[in-house]
Amino acid sequence: MTTLGDYLTVSGILFAIGFSGVLLRRNVIIIFMALELMLNAANLSLVAFSRFRLGDDGLPNYNAQVLVFFVITVAAAEVAVGLAIIVALYRARRTTHVEDINSLKF
């Protein structure tokens, strides 16, 4: 049988993969995809806890699933705005490489 810890471990590993992607990659679009990985890792642990802590009626705790729904909605809006910013950035600077975008570098 799978335990709660198995799901949390998988979620933690996925979060660490996304985090390393944000830190190690230099392409803005890849960094954005790694951010999505981190959001989804958090969703997985939320759903696992929703199934683990049953409500009084013996069904999963649906409050967590509503929160996951909100996270997915906000993430979709965030992707739309973020990609529009990346397109505007590419038009202005002709690059998606973060080391080429150094106007604020001291």
Partner: protein, 167 residues
Amino acid sequence: MPAFLFWLFAGVMLIFGALVVVNRNPIASALSLVVCFLGLAALFMSLDAFFIGIIQVLVYAGAVMVLFLFIIMLLDLRAEERRTMNWVAFTGGFVVAFSLLVQILAVISRTQMAKQTFPPLASRQVDDVRNVGLLLFGHYNLPFQVIAVLILVATVGVIVLSKRQLR
């Protein structure tokens, strides 16, 4: 769900999640992310969250990833050429990410709750769309309306950002 299916989908998800970070070609990264999200949707369904699993496939694997692929093709990104890597930054980032992973795993291994299996459901019939909908339109009605406004603002923002010249 049998245990081997859990490990199968978890393995597929983690391998393709790692490929997102490792791949040099952005299109290969995006396609790996689609497979990763499909594995994640299967894990959601193994937790009896069928509505969330369907939403995951429709919104993430469908809409969001199509948006990513469109932008990659619009910008005409090739596989990035090898640059001189900043080894100090690379090693530092790797150490930080790895220590985060060790920290998370240490906390999970020390939690008593994590060793328990999932309790059985009261009934085999899980009408989760109905239950999520009742909560969403009842108790969480105000956040739901706020989300609607947020999406409207995001739509307007995207149009403003995409205009050729910003005034």
